[in-house]
Symmetry: C4
Subunit: 210 residues, 4 copies
Amino acid sequence: MSETAARMPAPAEAAGPERLIYFSDAVIAIAITLLALELPTPSGGVHGNAGVLGFLGEHAAEYVAFLISFAAVAMHWLIHQRLFRYVTGLDGRMIRWNLLWLLMIVLMPFTTKLLTSEVDAFQVQFTVYAADQALAGLFLVLALSDLRRHGLLKPNTPIEAIDNGTEFVTAVVVMFTLSIPVAFVTNWAALCWLLLPLLRKGVQLVRRLG
Amino acid sequence: MSETAARMPAPAEAAGPERLIYFSDAVIAIAITLLALELPTPSGGVHGNAGVLGFLGEHAAEYVAFLISFAAVAMHWLIHQRLFRYVTGLDGRMIRWNLLWLLMIVLMPFTTKLLTSEVDAFQVQFTVYAADQALAGLFLVLALSDLRRHGLLKPNTPIEAIDNGTEFVTAVVVMFTLSIPVAFVTNWAALCWLLLPLLRKGVQLVRRLG
Amino acid sequence: MSETAARMPAPAEAAGPERLIYFSDAVIAIAITLLALELPTPSGGVHGNAGVLGFLGEHAAEYVAFLISFAAVAMHWLIHQRLFRYVTGLDGRMIRWNLLWLLMIVLMPFTTKLLTSEVDAFQVQFTVYAADQALAGLFLVLALSDLRRHGLLKPNTPIEAIDNGTEFVTAVVVMFTLSIPVAFVTNWAALCWLLLPLLRKGVQLVRRLG
Amino acid sequence: MSETAARMPAPAEAAGPERLIYFSDAVIAIAITLLALELPTPSGGVHGNAGVLGFLGEHAAEYVAFLISFAAVAMHWLIHQRLFRYVTGLDGRMIRWNLLWLLMIVLMPFTTKLLTSEVDAFQVQFTVYAADQALAGLFLVLALSDLRRHGLLKPNTPIEAIDNGTEFVTAVVVMFTLSIPVAFVTNWAALCWLLLPLLRKGVQLVRRLG
């Protein structure tokens, strides 16, 4: 039997998901907290209430970007915790998607900082940020579809919950991907992000027809 | 039945609170540790025991602010761990209050740094700091009242414990909110924070009469 | 009965220790990792293998201080995990000692950085570092003695384990405290730290005679 | 019996591995997230899309080094989670190897930063990085072999899983160790890392013949 075990894909196949969930939560918690580490604070040259208010106003984009990234990371955590409670086991492929998903989340403090650095390169900055977000969503979708295809979910899993989650993250991926070409036309490309509810309906429609 | 599930508010309704508690603890642990990351250390230009003692004395406000923020975050953790042990389930609204509460805690290293940066803008600095603290408390109070209203507590929960915790955090919110207008009159507005025991009695009184 | 509950010291009295242990581990893990964040890396002005080796040699004190602090934090974690497995419950006082202990650990990246900053103020730098270490040990000893006095340990706890741990940490406290006055006589005060095995024997002797 | 306990090696002997696993995961999660903290972002002097693309291109080595280190830390976590699920207990020696392994992982953000700092000292930079990686692997191998020798594994542990893991990490150690002398001959020493599959076969062969 031990001979057979040696030829089995990987001993992780039958492992419970607790440690992967635990590790993911720790990484997400750190990434979400580090986002705030880069927030600009006034120093030498800024004086008085008016000066500091002016400073905070000038850097408004950075504070808003922090809030958007915080919301994005929190959304990823929410979907993950909402769906991974139905997971009974792991396979190597799923763990790989989960690690790639974490890689994209670990990069978010960096891509957020790049997005708001004053280098007057909107297209590059926006593309890197949106690509990071779109890839994070994509890897989560791949992890979820792997869970479904390989029977790693509890028997009584409400498939609607998995479907809703997958549709939502798919809409997020479409939203960020679409906004990239738009950024080459207008600096208001971030407004594409308001289309999320519409895109979600679209994804639902496509899936149900498909 | 799966059709019904699709129309249900969210699959999170029935989830255990463990992962939210775990994630909250990780975020709080990181925020409380990052507070110390910004503590000033002497470098070029400071020499000798007298020089370093002088440096530490000049930056006393920053060390004191670190201790106050450490105590504030530790207080939030204490209340959370004291009350969330009675939680049996989560709903989407409660998770949202909890995430907003974490957002305010994640901002504390930033607002603490702003509070003590040498920009001579007491009113702005104090207001941002006190507002962060007051909002953190407010979101915790909203999470707690949501727990109570939606029956997410264990049957044998000592309601006094929840009430005591809620009253204490409410007093904290009132304290920080009151200190904001005071900051526009005097730079000693932080002394308002000593009124906490009195405010707590007041909140208790109001609730029991109300 | 709910009336009685209101007058009980605090609802935390009967709580399991899991969440405190979890939170402590997260804080310690972050503090131990942040220690390495301040390690100096060569930049502009340093060139070639010889230059970089020279740079690393010049900053040897900082690398050694990192290793000492890593060992100190790891030692705290080891003792905590070795003894807290026997804990059945918590009371408010014990939680307070544990939080003060964590405060001292959170400060270690700061005191380590101060210890090795090039400000030529050995007595101040050494005293702050050793006091942080001594206080961390003291708060752990107080937490342990509280556990014992208030019956918060499992019935079958090997009291020798608690005693050995307490004696060891007491010896660490004595060691760091003793080294402070020595620092005012000689810059080799850190050599006092080699007396730990001796001090441990002394503490054991005193306790058994006492 | 308590007298006997006092002479027993250490009370940790019989402890469950949960807290060590938990603590290790937290440290790894922080180290893997901090890797991204040092990623260079353009600032003053860089302008326009072309300027930023140029900046990103110039720092390509740093982004690649980040990815390599992320993969290395993720690999360590994967092996650890794959094998430590079979662990039933801990002894002091194993905990020590595990802590030394964590020390090497905590150093990875530092050695990664050193590897890519522009100081034109390839041999020193490469050696420090490869030595950190090789030692991390070595300490993990020592922890694994300790688990096996001291019967700390569950009765039904598939020994093939432990063997495969040990062989893989041994190959990693050999790979990084071999690449160090190569670095003194050519700046392409990192290409040695592509030999991993070959080295793995070699290690398997040696072990089966040995």
